[in-house]
């Protein structure tokens, strides 16, 4: 896989997020976005005059607004500036980050602002997603993000009880993280002692996939400001450097007539991780990274994907979960923010992964900051149909 050296380094110098919530009747779309933009500018100690380019992203179909970047100028500050709109699906936020990195690295712009947002309360997500498929006419099938096959996989490999307990353990860890994050949408205060109850009582959606295990539908926005090395060093006390990022997607692996044991469906994460770590000389990612903000739309995917991302074998990935090594304070903290299960304003979600990973590197994430120093952070984005975006962040410019 071709990998070109960057023209120049790029650092994250400003981060802003709204509180994520199921309902924000008090603001319209530009006003919601503006909250994140203002916070990011404040964080970077910049004004809109300093921004050279605005990269705007959401799931265009979900709010039924065509070319929303035009309306949203009222809140983004892109008035009279270069502005680019990106819609790649669930990965939108991650692609915003990649594009902003590339735009600044290329030398085209010195300072680039990425804005991801979604106001899912206003649209009809499932309506938007289900139209992507028609089983009879070669448009491949997927019922939105509701995929039960991972649950089936884990259950078949490790037995129903262990699989279910691992899934719920992951769920409760995410809730405990979300309870520490003031911006998180869903923070219930769940306890590990509730696992058996939840397995029994949470409504089933597809197969073993239960309501409690799914991500939320949220309103929220995230804004991240990227700057070229020189500007980042001038403007920020602790810029967070973007070392590398990778995007992989392979739609043809979506089998239209059911699950094929010989050709497992989701392999883009594994492929992307191998490529990204390989070309950066990282042999043991589990030891190398200090934190991972993973796009986890549901617990079953999350526990299964740990194996793909970190090239683990056997039940190593389940043990990470079962031994709570993925909790804040553990060996590989996953999603100190509470993850996608905690908050999911879709167009912002994958950018929030990058933003939260960067906050951990900076060391000022807030109550959910992990206690040990963070030098190397990883963020992932995921979207249909089988897209993976991975981003590596570094504290020092020394790789």
């Amino acid at each position: 896989m071709a990998h070109h050296k960057k023209n120049r380094n790029v650092g994250i110098i400003g981060i802003g997020q709204t509180k994520h919530s199921s309902h924000r009747e008090d603001v319209n779309q530009p006003e919601l976005i503006h909250e994140a933009v203002r916070l990011a500018l404040q964080d970077a100690n910049l004004t809109m005059k300093d921004i050279d380019c605005v990269v705007h992203g959401n799931m265009e179909l979900f709010e039924m607004v065509h070319q929303p970047d035009l309306w949203h100028v009222l809140g983004t500050g892109a008035y009279g500036k270069d502005c680019i709109r990106i819609t790649t699906g669930g990965t939108v936020g991650a692609t915003l980050s990649c594009a902003s990195d590339n735009l600044a690295a290329s030398g085209m712009y010195d300072i680039v602002m990425a804005i991801g947002f979604e106001k899912l309360q206003e649209g009809h997500t499932t309506g938007g997603i289900t139209n992507m498929a028609d089983p009879l006419w070669f448009r491949k099938i997927q019922a939105g993000a509701l995929t039960g096959s991972s649950a089936y996989d884990v259950e078949r490999e490790f037995g129903l009880e262990r699989a279910n307990r691992a899934s719920l353990t992951y769920r409760i860890i995410m809730d405990k993280h979300a309870c520490l994050n003031p911006n998180a949408h869903r923070a219930f205060g769940l306890e590990f002692s509730q696992i058996d109850d939840l397995i029994r009582t949470s409504p089933k959606l597809v197969g073993e996939l239960k309501l409690i295990e799914m991500c939320s539908q949220s309103d929220g926005a995230c804004c991240v400001i990227f700057a070229c090395e020189q500007k980042a060093k001038e403007l920020a006390r602790t810029p967070v450097w973007i070392r590398d990022h990778i995007t992989v997607h392979r739609e043809e692996t979506f089998n239209i007539f059911g699950y094929d044991r010989k050709v497992p469906v989701i392999k883009t994460h594994k492929f992307a991780a191998e490529q990204l770590f390989g070309r950066n000389g990282i042999k043991d990612p589990l030891n190398y990274f200090d934190v991972f903000e993973m796009y986890d739309p549901a617990t079953w995917w999350a526990i299964d994907w740990l194996r793909d991302f970190f090239a683990l074998h056997g039940d190593e990935h389940l043990k990470l979960v079962e031994n709570k090594e993925i909790m804040i304070g553990g060996r590989m903290p996953i999603n100190p923010s509470g993850g996608v299960i905690g908050s999911n304003p879709i167009g912002a979600t994958a950018l929030i992964r990058v933003a939260e990973a960067a906050l951990q590197v900076r060391g000022n994430a807030g109550p959910h900051q992990i206690p040990t120093p963070v030098k190397h952070a990883l963020a992932s984005g995921f979207g249909g149909t089988m897209w993976t975006v991975m981003t590596m962040l570094e504290k020092e410019l020394n790789w």
């Binding site: 809140g75 500050g77 206003e122 009809h124």
Partner: protein
């Protein structure tokens, strides 16, 4: 699935799909207030950016040019505006607000800095033009949407009096001999510009009678500005305290005078030397000497000045307004010595004769400016023949204006305008429009005076012309 196929494609089918995707979007707090204000108060509100002075309509939280938070900076806009551009919708669709064809226009409301989209109706499509004036028509039943303004309809073109004045020849004193020549034959000179004065408050009219009565210097400045815009060349002012009481306090009177001059430097400010009930002679004249306005009222006889119910004759307030010969003489002298032109108030023929008697001392500079006042309980009621008698008793070169209390206001100013005199209107004299509804402010009464002048074909005097006519120093 199969429909009738095009010849040659009988074996090719199309797949029909259907999407039904409900969605909403939230107006937010700012957008919602915009709608509820239209719904509940029939007022169109925008927000103004204090940094760049742009008035946004529809309102928004933040100025997108400079990021100033403007969500609480509400301003009320007029219901009238101008079509900045438009299109004709010529196809029917279920989601459209009207059956085709109809006009969708961008309309910039008077006072707004941005146009917004709405429907233009009540005229032929081919008559809609860029630049046409339109007026909001509010919906009878609310939908809690922007359609609480049902549509816009063509509004009568209101041509700015200032624009008209810029376009015409300016009056100058060289024209005056002709004026006097014509008057000799009893024929008014309709070519002389008519001076419109607005009496903003008086001493007695309160906000509970008409909320547009100004009390604070800022309110005076705002009212004066509106009257100036409408065509007044002069305002007549009795300063008030914040609570509405008439005041003789020099500081307050000066602050009120200066606030008006700051807002409209052109405008002539005419202060009262009556001030209000129960003030001493010293209190009444010392403020004029201290502030030296361009003009001040001069009262000409001691008289009853009460409040008596017109229908029943019942006395509510009995008061004697004292203006002795000595006061008349001293006030006149003080004004003339301080460069203040007296506006000589005549409530009947006696007051006029008192003045002419004192005038033999040679106190008054030429020309003298009289105001015939009608309808005060204690003075004479308006009668057309009394008006003519008073006009005929004036010394040579004298100017006359007139004002009337309550419903006397409109006939007396119309007669004055008809006879070549000037006009005073305003909330001091009358709080209602000719149709009986409360005037929105003195400016609306000025608009009535302007319409009288335009009906009679007389130009409305600019402040510069008013100074020349009344013998004041040019500014």
């Amino acid at each position: 699935m199969a429909k009738e196929q095009v010849a040659g494609f009988e074996d090719s089918y199309e797949v029909e799909g259907k999407m039904a995707l409900p969605y909403t979007y939230f107006a937010g707090r700012v957008g919602s207030k915009f709608i509820t204000t239209i719904r509940d108060q029939q007022k169109i509100m925008g927000v103004k950016c204090p940094a760049c002075n742009t008035v946004y309509l529809p309102p928004r939280q933040v100025c997108d040019k400079d990021f100033t938070d403007i969500r609480d900076n509400w301003v009320e806009l007029n219901n009238t505006g101008t079509v900045t551009t438009f299109t004709v919708v010529r196809y029917d669709d279920r989601h459209l607000p009207r059956p085709a064809p109809y006009v969708l226009a961008l309309i910039q409301l008077d006072g707004a800095g941005t146009p917004f989209m709405h429907i233009v109706e009540e005229c032929k499509i081919e008559d809609v033009k860029i630049g046409m004036k339109v007026e909001a028509v509010f919906a009878k039943e609310t939908t809690n949407t922007i359609l609480d303004i049902d549509h816009f309809k063509p509004a009568p073109e209101k041509i700015s009096i200032h624009a008209l004045n810029t376009a015409r020849k300016q009056w100058n004193p060289a024209d005056e001999p002709a004026t006097n020549e014509k008057r000799k034959g009893g024929k008014p000179d309709m070519a002389t510009p008519v001076i419109i004065a607005a009496a903003l408050t008086g001493a007695a009219t309160m906000k509970n009678q008409n909320p547009s009565v100004p009390y604070t210097p800022e309110e005076f400045a705002e009212e004066a500005w509106k009257c100036w815009q409408a065509g007044a060349a002069m305002v007549h002012v009795h300063a008030r305290e914040d609570g509405g009481m008439a005041t003789h306090d020099h500081g307050r009177i000066k602050a009120t005078h200066d606030a008006i001059k700051d807002r409209c430097p052109e405008l002539i400010v005419n202060l009262s030397s009556a001030v209000g009930m129960g003030k001493t002679a010293e209190q009444r004249i010392s403020q004029i000497v201290a502030i030296k306005p361009e003009m001040a009222s001069l009262n000409t006889n001691t008289m009853n000045f009460g409040i008596v119910e017109r229908k029943t004759g019942k006395i509510f307030i009995d008061y004697v307004f004292e203006n002795t010969f000595t006061m008349l003489q001293d006030f006149s002298r003080a004004m003339e010595e301080n460069g203040v032109k007296p506006e000589i108030e005549c409530y009947d023929m006696g007051g006029l004769d008192n003045t002419l008697l004192i005038a033999r001392q040679g106190i008054f500079s030429d020309p003298m400016n009289f105001n015939f006042v009608w309808g005060v309980a204690g003075g004479q009621a308006f009668r057309a023949e009394s008006f003519i008698a008073m006009m005929n008793a004036l010394p040579p070169r004298a100017n006359f204006t007139t004002c009337g209390v309550g419903t006397d206001e409109f006939p007396c100013i119309m007669q004055s305008c008809l006879l070549g005199g000037h006009m005073r209107v305003g909330l001091e004299d009358n709080i209602r429009m000719p149709d009986g509804r409360l005037a929105r402010g003195s400016y609306e009464l000025v608009e009535v005076a302007v319409s009288i002048a335009s009906a009679l074909g007389r130009p409305v005097a600019t402040a510069t012309e008013a100074r020349l006519i009344m013998g004041m120093k040019p500014r």
